[in-house]
Amino acid sequence: MAKILLEMRNITKTFPGVKALDNVNFQVEEGEIHALVGENGAGKSTLMNVLSGIYPYGTYEGDIVYNGNVCKFNTIKDSEKLGIVIIHQELALVPEMTIGENMYLGNERGHKFAIDWNKTYSEADKYLKMVGLSESSKTLVKDIGTGKQQLVEIAKALAKQAKLLILDEPTSSLNEEDSRALLDLMLSFKKQGMTMIIISHKLNEVSYVADTITVVRDGATIETIDNSGQEPVSEERIIKGMVGREMTNRFPKRENVPIGDKMLEVTDWTVHHPLYPERKVVDGVSMYVRKGEVVGIYGLMGAGRTELAMSIFGQTYGTNISGSMKIDGKPVKIRKGADDAIRHKIAYVTEDRKGNGLVLSQSIKVNTSLAHLDAISSHTVIDGDKEYAVAEEYRDKLKIKTPTVEQLVGNLSGGNQQKVLLAKWMFAEPDIMLLDEPTRGIDVGAKYEIYCIINDLAAAGKCVVMISSELPEVLGMSDRIYIMNEGKFVGEMKAEDATQENIMALILKSGRGE
């Protein structure tokens, strides 16, 4: 039996109103690759942030025992000193700096008052060789691809004398070839005695590389599976642990809503990345939505769902968009800009309500009317009374909890903010509503109310596209489901045929390129 390198005992971490981690126990043996799997929001990243000191000692309950000692990390520097290094999902490199400068950023080589550049670059080259990257350390980071950038991140971690390396979704932005190379690199590190934790959605990769798999669900560790045997653990076995939650009456029924003609139809829709135009973010997608229908689009993060919706919504994302679109049976060409999409009666309710959706420094009233000011003004002069009446109407309709519609949106809870966002787009009177993660980060009660609003919209004959990475929600709310992975639609199912297992299996199958 190998030595236990890391043990996290009874970790509980509470955010205002939410228990993100509930009494989690987690053990990592020396020299193994340990995988942490679970749905989005299950608590994997929170657990790793506790471990690396991003959430300092005292903000959580429980103990971290590393190498036999109880550790109290106050900053990320404290954990790095002991060799615990985390590589985040989003690459944290400065594009305008060289590889060498990036690797020693905040950890500069040389004296107090002068950086020793010769030492920096020679040491950097040494670590680059270890990760199998043939670039010179004087190359600018912006000049190398994402696969190589991921390797630079690993070299940077090695330069910090890492003993326990944590990789959070290391392959999420890599193609098949680069991913495989990275996993093999991990296996070679293991041979040299390095301990690693990998967080990943791609279960095929997990079963390929990991010795042990811990499943996290709803802020608790569910089970730990041994994967060191001859036969790798089957993906179905892991999925069962990930999704095995009971489904009670969390979704209101939608009854007798007649489904009409096709309202929105896109064919062969392809969108390229705005910064790397050679990359296809959405690849040849064809879909349709009928009046009164709720269509779910399920996929993991980074599958291209948001990009698809935003490119339909007045090309507000992406470049080189191709494909054809029909609204109500007539071919349309929407010009660039949200205004033209709104004119075509499309609404896009963003997943990022604080970043892209609401003006937090303004009132509920101002936010409600923002996308449709014409309706309450004449000759561009706003009728204040009418605006107030509209805001009041939607406050009642959506049950927004606030003393007055003059309240600043920044002071509302997440659920109420989401309702204001919905109010804004309902007031814009669209026929087609693209809802992107409409229940992200809000509590169960508010979720139920949002589901009721979605049902009302469908009953009013609107067509609703609901993008979500919560499988139960997609299953519970949709009439029809499209499954998306890596920019492509990999399946379409009627709600009654869909189960969590067969959707997951579709995604995993397509991920392996079969």
Binding site: F313, T316, G337, A338, D339, A341, I342, Y348, T350, G355, N356, G357, L358, V359, L360, S361, Q362, V366, L370, A371, L373, D374, S377, T380, V381, I382, G384, D385, Y388, A389, E392, P403, T404, E406, G410, N411, K424
Partner: protein, 435 residues
């Protein structure tokens, strides 16, 4: 654990104070009216200064305060719209003031019609603003850089136009309408035409003598006072209507609080017009300032463009996704400040009775300071015309007060700097509390 429980059981003085502050919203009152309170305090301090008691409140000083700061009000109005879009500023306005003034003065000196010259000055400002706005909005050059370039270039153009020499204006019409000399006041039509009323204002009329004081009674401007009374009546009428509408719609605003503020504002307005009437009457510049402030108060609060300015500054991405052409909003803000810089050029040259190549230097900074002191956020999205007015007045009172009590001219800028720093610090701190 037990410690904190004990504290909960026996609330100390601190808890009581906090509770009191929350109940009567003391914190938010101070937060909302800090600069107004500062203005009142500063005025009182200067008014009570030993040896100079009440000097700052003398009618000539009140009129002077308005006339000297006319350019600040006009430029700060334009600057406020730029700052709203996200803390962007326009550094070129000082140079644009001087350039448009230089062209206008040169034209008038060579005999061009006054009104044509005035229109050309406004057009120059608008063109420059539109041009800079194009760089900022369409080519996405940072506003700071684009207007810094304009600041150098138009100062240079001024020197080219004027050959580095002063140009004088002799045209009486121009000076009377836009200037602040003896002729630039609304004449007392009532006393000039009505002998009956005119005869009241002698030192023999005991009631009026007591009311107005013997220094001013013979010159008291009845027309100005009447305009003041009409303005106050209109204000009360509009405010009452607003309160009634709010009551009907059930907007929960404190009605007694609003009535108190209405009475106070009316009183200040009456006092202000009384002071003006005691000196020479209603100055023409005040009419221009009032017109500009009124128009932009309306634009920022009632129109779609005003709403877009706030929304872009609050969250540009969300605004763009709501179908607003955000680039046009930037363009509007910069074209607009150019136009107002043209107007400020007219007021400045009329006040100076001509143009010097150095006119307008530092004006941009005065305008920026007035906005930030008046509560505009350095990050954009918040700020009001009314706040900006208070900011401009505060700077003006401090300037004037320091001159009256004889502070060293070199030190005056130090004080201005400190006031600006404190005001912005307050803005940042009050934002941090909310998070």
């Amino acid at each position: 654990m037990t410690m904190s429980e004990n504290v909960k059981k026996a609330p100390g003085f601190r808890e009581n104070l906090t509770e009191f502050m929350q109940k009567y919203k003391v914190g938010s009152f101070f937060q909302k009216y800090t600069m107004l309170i500062a203005l009142v305090v500063v005025t009182i301090v200067f008014a009570c200064w030993k040896g100079k008691e009440g000097l700052i409140l003398m009618p000539p000083n009140i009129t002077g305060l308005i006339a000297e700061n006319a350019y600040v009000f006009v430029l700060a109005t334009g600057m406020l719209l730029c700052i709203l879009t996200g803390g962007n500023i326009d550094l070129s306005v000082g140079s644009v003031v001087c350039f448009s003034g230089a062209v206008g003065c040169t034209l008038m000196a060579s005999g061009t019609n006054v009104w044509i010259a005035v229109l050309i000055m406004l057009a120059i400002g608008l063109c420059i603003g539109t041009f800079q706005g194009f760089w900022i909005a369409k080519l996405k050059v940072p506003a700071f850089i684009a207007t810094l370039a304009g600041m150098y270039a138009f100062r240079g153009f001024t020197n080219v136009v004027m050959n580095g020499l002063r140009v004088d204006i002799t045209n009486e019409t121009f000076l009377n309408i836009f200037g602040s000399g003896k002729g630039s006041y609304i004449p007392d039509i009532i006393r000039n035409t009505n002998e009956g009323i005119n005869s009241w204002f002698t030192k023999d009329n005991a009631t009026l003598l007591k009311l107005i004081g013997e220094n001013y009674i013979t010159k008291f401007n009845v027309t100005c006072m009447l305009i003041g009374l009409i303005a106050v009546a209109a204000f009360i009428l509009l405010k009452t209507r607003k309160i009634l509408v709010q009551k009907r719609l059930g907007i929960s605003q404190s009605i007694p609080g609003q009535i108190v503020s209405m009475v106070l504002i009316s009183a200040v307005m009456l006092w202000f017009f009384f002071k003006l009437a005691c000196y020479r009457g209603l100055p023409m510049v005040l009419i221009w300032i009032g017109l500009i402030l009124g128009i932009y108060q309306y634009v920022t609060t009632k129109t779609a463009m005003g709403r877009h300015l706030y929304a872009v500054g609050g969250n540009e991405k969300a605004t763009a996704l709501s179908g607003v052409k955000t680039r046009n909003v930037y363009w509007f803000a910069y074209a607009n400040i150019g136009l107002l810089a043209g107007l400020a050029g007219i007021l400045t040259t009329a006040r100076g009775k001509g143009i010097d190549p150095t006119y307008g230097e530092g004006y941009e900074m005065d305008a920026i300071a007035a906005c930030f002191i008046g509560g505009a956020s350095a990050y954009g999205g918040t700020g009001k015309v009314s706040g900006m007015i208070i900011g401009a007045l505060l700077m003006g009172v401090i300037n004037k007060g320091m001159i009256i009590i004889g502070v060293d001219a070199n030190f005056q800028k130090v004080v201005k700097g400190i006031v600006l720093l404190l005001a912005v610090m307050f803005d940042v701190l009050s934002k941090r509390q909310k998070r």
